[in-house]
């Protein structure tokens, strides 16, 4: 990589050039080793410019109205003069590898807003998976001076944990249902929540939304809050009419103020970085393991033994691990 190339990315991003931002995100998403090397240098150079934005994670069950919420909430923020970035991850087909990225069809106004930057990404296609892409994309947006970064995630799987571990504030969207509110979303996801908001509180749905809010409030008492200085509020909003959105933003700011005063924000981010490094190490080890030529030869043999019932799964695993023990990290 040349200095000129590095300058192109770093200066482009920090001077808020939309085109270069887009290309930088493509760079960090790339699976090519050469691109990854450049990406690392770019990210190192961008690091001093990061850290100032409010990082918001937003999740909810399918149908909770996440995209519509982001559209309305994002529009409100831009009207306050803030610059907003939205990162959305769409699933890639495990069979064909392709993906359909349709988030912007649900964010019609925000997607054409000059104050906003929305980047949908396919979940596969990079070695680091969802988390790496999103985290680094978030940093790119921060370096480009975006004030608020929203990360959207589908609220049913593993990705919440990954997203919660990279944002300052994790918002869970709910809707009023028929008494089975808690079933659609994992309890673990609620434990990550810094706030819960019952969306679609409009029209003849208001009463049901109120009831749902009551139920969640009761339920939240049974869960431990994410921080000793913060108890998770349950709120109500309507992306359609805009009611409750300003209150949510005020609450996010209040949370930030408390966390900053108590030094928790800094601690949280440091802890996130530490965990992040270990996550990368784990990923790197796995990648290295599966790419190793001897492992590639060894695995099917041991697998065959286990499947054939000739040895137990435990001793199969032990054999693989003992191979690793005897294997010098310096040999490749």
């Amino acid at each position: 990589m040349t200095q000129k190339e590095l300058d192109y990315y770093v200066q482009g991003v920090t001077s808020q050039n939309r085109l270069v931002m887009a290309k930088t995100i493509t760079l960090i998403e790339s699976t090519l080793p050469a691109h990854q090397e450049t990406a690392r240098a770019v990210m190192d150079a961008l690091l001093p410019h990061t850290g100032k934005a409010v990082r918001l994670g937003i999740t909810g069950v399918p149908g909770a109205g996440k995209s519509t919420f982001i559209e309305s909430f994002g529009m409100m923020l831009t009207q306050k003069g803030l610059r907003v970035a939205v990162l959305a991850v769409d699933p890639s087909s495990p069979r064909t590898g392709g993906s359909i990225l349709a988030d912007k069809t649900r964010m019609e106004k925000l997607s054409v807003n000059e104050q906003a930057f929305i980047r949908p990404s396919p979940s596969s296609g990079t070695l680091g998976g969802v988390a790496r892409k999103t985290r680094e994309t978030m940093m790119i947006c921060e370096a480009a001076g975006y004030d608020v970064i929203m990360v959207e995630t589908v609220g049913v799987g593993q990705s919440e944990v990954a997203v919660a571990s990279m944002v300052d504030f994790f918002l869970v969207l709910m809707i009023a249902g028929a008494g089975d509110e808690l079933q659609g979303i994992k309890k673990g996801v609620l434990e990550l929540a810094d706030a819960i908001t019952v969306n679609k509180a409009d029209g003849d749905n208001i009463d049901r939304a109120k009831m749902a809010r009551q139920q969640y409030s009761t339920a939240m008492h049974l869960l431990s809050p994410p921080s000793p200085d913060w108890s998770t509020p349950v709120m109500m909003c309507s992306s359609l009419t805009g009611t409750g959105l300003a209150e949510i933003w005020d609450m996010v700011l209040k949370h930030r103020k408390i966390m900053e005063e108590k030094g928790e924000l800094e601690r949280k981010r440091h802890e996130q970085s530490r965990l992040w490094m270990w996550a990368l190490v784990k990923e790197g080890m796995e990648e290295w393991f599966y790419k190793n030529a001897q492992v590639v030869n060894l695995l099917p043999l041991i697998e065959k033994e286990v499947v054939g019932g000739r040895i137990t799964a435990t001793s199969g695993a032990a054999r693989i691990l003992s191979f690793l023990q005897n294997y010098s990290l310096t040999t490749t």
């Binding site: 699976t31 519509t68 590898g97 392709g98 993906s99 990225l101 912007k104 106004k109 980047r119």
Partner: protein, 712 residues
Amino acid sequence: MAEHPQMKKWKEQAAKELKGKPVEALNWESPEGITVKPIYTAEDLEGLDFVNTLSGMAPYVRGPVGTMYTNHPWTIRQYAGFATATESNAFYRRSLAAGNQGLSVAFDLATHRGYDSDHPRVTGDVGKAGVAIDSVEDMKVLFDGIPLDRVTVSMTMNGAVLPILAGYIVAAEEQGVKQEQLAGTIQNDILKEFLTRNTYIYPPLPSMRIVSDIIAYCSKNMPRYNTISISGYHIMEAGANSVLQTAFTLADGKQYIRAAIDGGLSIDDFAPRLSFFFGIGMNFFMEIAMLRAARYLWNKTVSEFNPKNPRSTILRTHCQTSGWSLTEQDPYNNVIRTTLEALAAALGGTQSLHTNALDEATNLPTDFSARIARNTQIIIQEESQVCHVVDPLGGSYFIEALTGAIIREAGKIMDEIEALGGMAKAIETGMPKLRIEESAARRQARIDQGKDVIVGVNKYRVKDEAPGEVLEIPSTVRDEQIAKLKDIKSKRDSAAVKKSLENITKVAEKGGNLLEATVQAMRLRATVGEVSDAMEKVFGRYVATSRMISGVYSSEYGDSDVIKGLQKRTATFLKETGRRPRMLVTKMGQDGHDRGFKVVATAFADLGFDIDISPMFQTPDEAAKMALENDVHIVGASSLTAGHKTLVPELIKKLRASGAGEILVIAGGVIPPTDYDFLYKAGVVGIFGPGTSIPDSADKVLTLLEQKYLKK
């Protein structure tokens, strides 16, 4: 009834003829999932309660009218709209003289979406795909010299239905024709817009209120007027098969009945004035059976509301031959297709018919192609002698059994919709849209594989075709409309107009009849855009959310070397360049036909592309921002209504201006071959007309990208 006494023998004989293949191999699985057997007998009529009924009587399977065509043939009604009111008027007068029996008006997209011609969002849309109407003055020109008390007018309008219907009422009034004399139809079928065509303005709830206000106003003031034309045509054109078309259309109808009853009307006040609009495709017997089945199911559906007037339960329908079945390649074949479809509509018992012109796959009809289209019907009516018998196929074992099968299958889907709480609720869940899109993707896969034959497209292709004659819309239409708008606005009583518009806003908010309020405003020369804005203040403008299916195209196509080969190439592209080929598919302008763009999106994703989808109704500026922000390799712009010559070059210009000139741009859809050179010069690198197969277009796109990004 037992099996036909000779059936065993027939099967033995068939087995011999098939040289060992089982007789079941002759069964054909229709796109509807109905198994069509090689032979039908009286046994197949068992349990069918409508066989041997009569026309003009419940359940009306054999026809809504007793004598059917033996007394009056169907009405020849050709849908047409040229860019300006003056040109359209001249065309209507010519076609009335040449044997057309009613008028059918096509409006341009700006009008559909409630924008005046001077609105900045519609620069590419004015006068495209129909006539631009901004005010009563345009309406008066449109119907100049056409006696509205005698000629029935059908208007295809759903979004801006209030100002257009009001404009028609006022134009007639100023001709000296009273409201109660007016006969004709306004489409006013907003539910299907949310399903397929997307030319809505307001969200579903206020849109339904507009529908019921119109029904209420007309049942009081315009007793001869059909207040709604419940349309399956667009549902079919979006890719639905006959069963889906029947089920969704009738379920829409049921929803309108509920809306009108909720608005305080009794079923017999309005149900006799509901009319239908079906699309007729190439599946000849299926189309005939569909119309018969639809009449049966509608009779059953309306009967649930306990009407006193038997007319309330009768399905009367207009039909149009399928636009999707037309091909750009070897276009004279379209005359033959349209003839077969027209015959199917007649044998199915339609009340009026539009036959498509042979060049409608790519452009508006010329006078020549319009004449052939019209004559197709006249020849069937006057030369073929098919009109002498009511329901001539009634009693055919096959037709009756097929009718029964559609009644059964469509009935199931209607029950499913009922269980969801009716069509409005079903639309909210996205179910109907996904079913239609799935059906479309499957059909595309069958065509691409050659399972469904289209002559001139996937079989018997002609090499080196000469491009045909094309009707060009002059780009001055918008300027002319803008000048007229200025003129009207300078001459009218602005204070009175302002007051009338405020009244519309008030009625929208607080209640009252919106059509009544709109008629007052249009009389004072308020414009279509102003009236629409006055309501938008209260109702808001609707934004559709797209849900996408995936995996359907490749699963219908099955394991094939073609698909695998393309998947391998996208995988290679990933390996060599670090990411998959990424394409933005976008629709610019006010055209809402989204089948093509969705089929391409879902099929390309199945081939291993990362596909970005833009919201509908984009400006070139907005599409360029999205392409750049998502950092795509290539943009595919879909155009079906002649916006390509302004919007696509504008997009390329915007991309270049923002430093993203390396993003390739291709165009697809209804683009006349005569425009290809123009587009290539503007920087378009590939053009895909109707009938291009997915594997072909994917191959070309990949080749473009491989040339640009892969090491030689």
